[in-house]
Symmetry: C2
Subunit: 317 residues, 2 copies
């Protein structure tokens, strides 16, 4: 079904998510016009060069004026201050949403600044890459990924439906859940893996007997997989941990307990325990592939190395 | 420079590494004939169907008879028993090598069974995917990866040079180091990342408030990256931990300490500590990419999703 475009969409923040939204909105004609705000002059200029917005504004309030949809694409910790800054400029009847990886804290910080005649529906597209900034976006980022909306009690069902249709038009699947549950789910599917990735790189950097050069050269043994996540934006992630403290700490406790059990099995040579744990862990990937959330190509299809097989000898001998 | 092919190469084990070696040896004509051994009749049959070997043998000793190069491509824990089984059948002057992820233990278990007129040069190609078995191999697996050789004191330099040339002809870069150092280096670049991947999947499986289906659906938040490693062969990995106990336990201690420091920073809201740690961790990926050990495509180039950008509207509106 055709999606009735928004007249004007304001993107507050033109990083990976904001710029990707711009690309897909342009491609799918989801907005008549796009206004944008970025804190830094360099980003505002680059966004104009890339055609990410029709107008870029130094002040967020100027970007949201007359906008029918306002999307906060800034780190979680910036959502409250931004909401305060745009509060008085919001158009009656507008929808405000966000893309933050934590939902309860965003609701707590943003809600007080949303006027009674404006709709606030928090959201979170579970999509990204390790790159950031206005150049990192691309139109298919949300394709077949999930976007979770966490509408507050009393939200007009039509408004949630409209935002759902918008994300579907961007290529996403959409789920609705409450904010606390979202934060618990994301602590395992995103926040803990990310923290572990940052941590193991730190541990590697501090070794005395193994050089950085060795870690880099031999990283294809598995380590390199973690460095992708560890290349992600530090500000964004700092804000995630400061704002999803409870769920992350609870999960870290469980992770450490499980790690200690494996450590003990290694120390005491309990091969059966290791084998059973590894066998159990093995199964989940197939289900992720079947759910369309990862590729079944070996090694993520990196560099298409696997596409070559037993080609005829090329005469090098 | 042309590599003078081996007359006969014996592959003991036809899993990912053994079958990949067969593919590249065929393509580059590195052997006049290939004999193989696999424990299971199904693998032996499949290896013949795939043309991985000219002859497949139920007993490893029959495979190594008259072989100039014998490559042990079995889990680390099987190397000792296999060496014992082939000991008497080895041809004088033959080179025996292996591909195990642990070197000191392999040397300890294998060396006693190598006759005085046979050369044993332990090796480890740092290459792999999450798949295993005779169908998983491909000729370019070793391309631009590193292979580490850990020759024992007193090894004939010509023999090490010959094996080095062989791995280079397979597409690898080759480094020489001592076995203990290898085991420490691999504990950080491979064994710890792999253990963490197994562990986080286990932690996820045991949650009460988040369903398995949710973990799978929303895994694009980072979790899915870990499931690739967790899909690897349990037997191989059990043997790694049982045989590199000391280096892995030492490293696990450091990892846990660093994790506790991050946990504390989250609990006490120390955003500066988190930001500094994350910023420091971010840098290493660029160096891995520059070293040719990973792709710079966003998200490992998965499914080429990034190749699409602002294409013209396709008329769906």
């Amino acid at each position: 079904m055709a999606f009735a475009p928004f007249e004007k969409v304001a993107l507050i923040g033109l990083g990976l998510i904001g710029s990707s939204l711009s690309h897909v909105m342009r491609r799918e004609k989801l907005a008549t016009s796009i206004s944008g705000h970025a804190r830094s002059a360099a980003t505002r200029e680059r966004a104009m060069e890339l055609g990410l917005a029709d107008t870029m504004h130094e002040h967020a309030a100027d970007a949201v004026r007359d906008a029918d949809l306002v999307v906060l694409c800034v780190p979680v910790g910036a959502c409250g201050p931004v909401a305060e800054a745009i509060s008085k400029a919001l158009k009656p009847g507008a929808i405000v949403t966000d893309v933050g990886s934590v939902k309860s804290a965003v609701i707590r910080e943003v809600s007080p600044h949303i006027p009674g005649n404006v709709h606030f529906v928090p959201g979170h597209p579970i999509a990204g890459t390790e790159y950031s900034g206005p150049d990192s976006g691309f139109a298919s980022l949300f394709e077949n990924r999930w976007c979770i909306l966490t509408p507050l009690g009393g939200t007009d069902a039509d408004v949630t439906a409209r935002l759902t249709a918008f994300w579907k038009a961007c290529g996403s699947n959409v789920d609705i859940m409450d904010a606390d549950h979202h934060d618990r789910v994301l602590s395992i599917t995103s926040h803990l893996p990310q923290l572990i990735a940052f941590n193991i790189v730190t541990t590697a950097a501090d070794l005395e007997e193994v050089t950085q050069q060795e870690v880099i050269k031999y990283s294809a043994g598995g380590f390199r997989d973690f460095t992708r996540l560890a290349a992600s934006d530090p500000t964004m992630w700092r804000d995630v941990y400061l704002n999803n403290k409870q769920a992350v700490l609870e999960l870290l406790g469980r992770f450490s307990e499980d790690m200690s059990a494996l450590q003990r099995a290694i120390r005491w040579g309990d091969g059966d325990m290791l084998f059973d744990t590894f066998t159990r862990a093995r199964g989940i990937r197939q289900r992720i592939i079947e759910a369309g959330q990862d590729t079944d190509e070996p090694d993520f299809g990196r560099g298409s190395q696997h596409s070559e097989t037993t080609a005829p000898a090329d005469g090098r001998d």
